[in-house]
């Protein structure tokens, strides 16, 4: 069995292979691999004794799950209400231009993924962008370009 499926098994066993823990199990797998591949979903369905359609039902319903690979650097722009009234739309446009990505897209070289999030709770900084856990308050187009170039 491949390394990744061994890890998936470990996660599933941690929940006693309980069907009801499906969402929790998938969250842990997503956390580990940053996305959910078909192989992993098939294996999970098999282990939990659930039909694949239930896994697709759950993974397409909840926002956090991704069925495509995610970039190495996670970029999020907060589009909570407070950030919105302070110019999150314009910030999102600038970040989109800087990364050449639309929201929910990943660059072809899997370097960046761009996401929007609703309220990070640092409304005083708003509008805010987060790149790999680092918060930036309303960066200009140049500042975005700089930080993008710093990423490996």
């Amino acid at each position: 069995m491949s390394y990744s499926l061994t890890l998936v098994d470990k996660i599933i066993n941690g929940y006693g292979a309980d069907k009801e823990a499906l969402v929790q199990i998938l969250l842990d797998i997503q956390h580990e691999f940053r996305w959910l591949s078909r192989d992993i979903l098939l294996h999970t369905a098999d282990r939990l004794g659930l039909p694949m359609n239930q896994l697709y039902n759950v993974t397409t319903f909840y926002k956090h799950f991704s069925l495509v690979p995610q970039g190495r650097h996670a970029v999020s722009v907060c589009v909570g209400t407070a950030c919105h009234v302070r110019g999150a739309t314009q910030l999102l446009n600038r970040v989109s231009q800087g990364l050449k990505l639309s929201p929910d897209e990943t660059s072809p070289d899997e370097k960046f993924s761009l996401k929007t999030v609703s309220c990070l709770g640092c409304c005083a900084l708003g509008p805010v962008m987060v790149i790999d856990g680092k918060y930036m308050s309303n960066p200009t187009a140049n500042e975005i370009t700089e930080i993008v170039e710093e990423c490996e």
Partner: protein
Amino acid sequence: MMARLNSVSDLDALKKDILSRRDSQKTKVSVCSGTGCRAYESEKVIDTLKAKLSENGLDEKVEVVTTGCHGFCELGPVMVIYPDETGYFRIKPEDVDDIVNDTLKEGKLVDRLLYVAPDGNVHAKESDIPFYKYQNRIVFGNSHFIDPENIEDYLALDGYQALATCLGTLSPEEVLEIVKKANLRGRGGGGFPAGQKWEATRNAPGEVKYVIVNADEGDPGAYMDRSILEGNPHSVLEGMLIGAYAIGCQQGFIYIRQEYPLAVEHLDRAIKQMREHGLLGENILGTGFNFDISVHRGAGAFVSGESSALMSSIEGRVGEPRPKYIRTSIAGVHGCPSDLNNVETWANVPIIINKGADWFTSIGTEGSSGTKIFSLVGKVNNTGLVEIPMGMKLEDIIFKIGGGIRNGKKFKAVQTGGPSGGVIPENMLDLPVDFDALSQVGSMMGSGGMIVMDEDTCMVDVAKYFLEFLADESCGKCVPCREGITQMLHILKMICAGEGRPGDLELLEEVAAMVKECSLCALGQSAPNPVLSSLKYFRAEYEAHVNDKYCPAHICKDLVTYQIDPAKCKGCGKCLRNCPVGAITGEKKKPHVIDLDKCTKCDTCFMVCPPKFRAVTKLSGNETLPVAEVEEDQV
């Protein structure tokens, strides 16, 4: 590891022991490490402080408490030094030297870190600062003194005493009566009395019953539940145990958004500590009461905060609501009676037990007892979490606590209740804030988001924003919500794009009425509120968009152009260097020009143009640049 507490007297003994090990004479430095302050690198400040203290041999004299959110997020990282209660704000790691040398060693203030009010007054003592002075912090009261990772901090401040009182001296019926008498209404949305909910679950037929904490804080502008869980998780857990005892259940769930990693971490640790102390599991405090908790993380779905959806999600399925002919208090998780209350509601329970129902009802208004936490955000000077007694006037919250509008702009409206709420205009600022008053003006309390808007906020754009959020979050199960919101959003998008047609506003109202009336759950039923309330109070602004293709706030991208006022531009070149698409041309020290064909309206030039020039101007509708007054020397 801690010995198990086998009786109420064990708990008292442990509290005494903790207090005897603590030196009340010690200087206490409380530093916020909530998510907001962490974004400003408060962790670095704490590490530097601890290192400097041991360098200076002050470890024994000074205690550093890493706490959850203090509320004043605008000026983070924040620090309070006791016993003088000195408040320091916007602290950088470089400032720590001066704090240690001047304040902690010599007792002198570091002036540059003190709070300066807009009127120029300096307030050294935290409780003198208007932001705190007008609050009544009962739920947040202890957050300055509690390290959320240390159960001893909570126990030292009478933690789990309310639980001991209930288990030791009160019957479940008596506990229920106290909560009913206190008129504790749900802090998460509808404001339904918690005591009544508890009673319904208690009286419902069935052996197995559940209590649930709703920590699926989905309102995209409210974060008080996260702050409570991050800063004082035991207060919520204690409340939950008390509820479980009153209702008669042995199993509880906490449903929390996975987007709140720090809150999940603190919650998990708190639960572990409870188990170690025998506060969870079998025979709690030797009273024969059994209870356990499991934590479920939500995977990102706004609608899952709705009670029946949340319970379906706990069962590992998609979080879609069901029709509630039978309430979840009768048939919830696994078809068993399940009581669901919000985080802030649970956190109020131990306080009510400790201080009594009469004390609780003495705070607030007749219909709404106690306090409410609001996240005061948007275009207000003092952004943060504020806890106020119910009934405080909107204008006091926004202008006294919030310090008024940023950058000297004019107040326009305040939005409460998140995507289910509405906007409240300036002429209603004297509204006393409680559950009923907010509903009467077409808004709602919701979970406590309070978004302040100024003259630069477009009300049509805000309505569109909420509908975009709701269209995205609608689960699609019922047609009125799925299709209705989509159609309303379509109309608003056309209006914002300058393609509004006569009759659009009437059509919006018609669709809104249908969505409100026919949707399955509260998400759809309340979805039209942001649109209807802004149409009611700001109709002229909608009409300007439709009839004159004019956005008075200059926000709607398609109705706005960016131009440089040649009379004001000094040719500093800042906009030219910052424009990402090279749309700006001009020679040094001469007025610059924006090529409107190239401009992507990214707002960068408007942001970087120095405030002393303000040459970059947004124009909408029939607006033109002011005709330059020809200066004499140019003639």
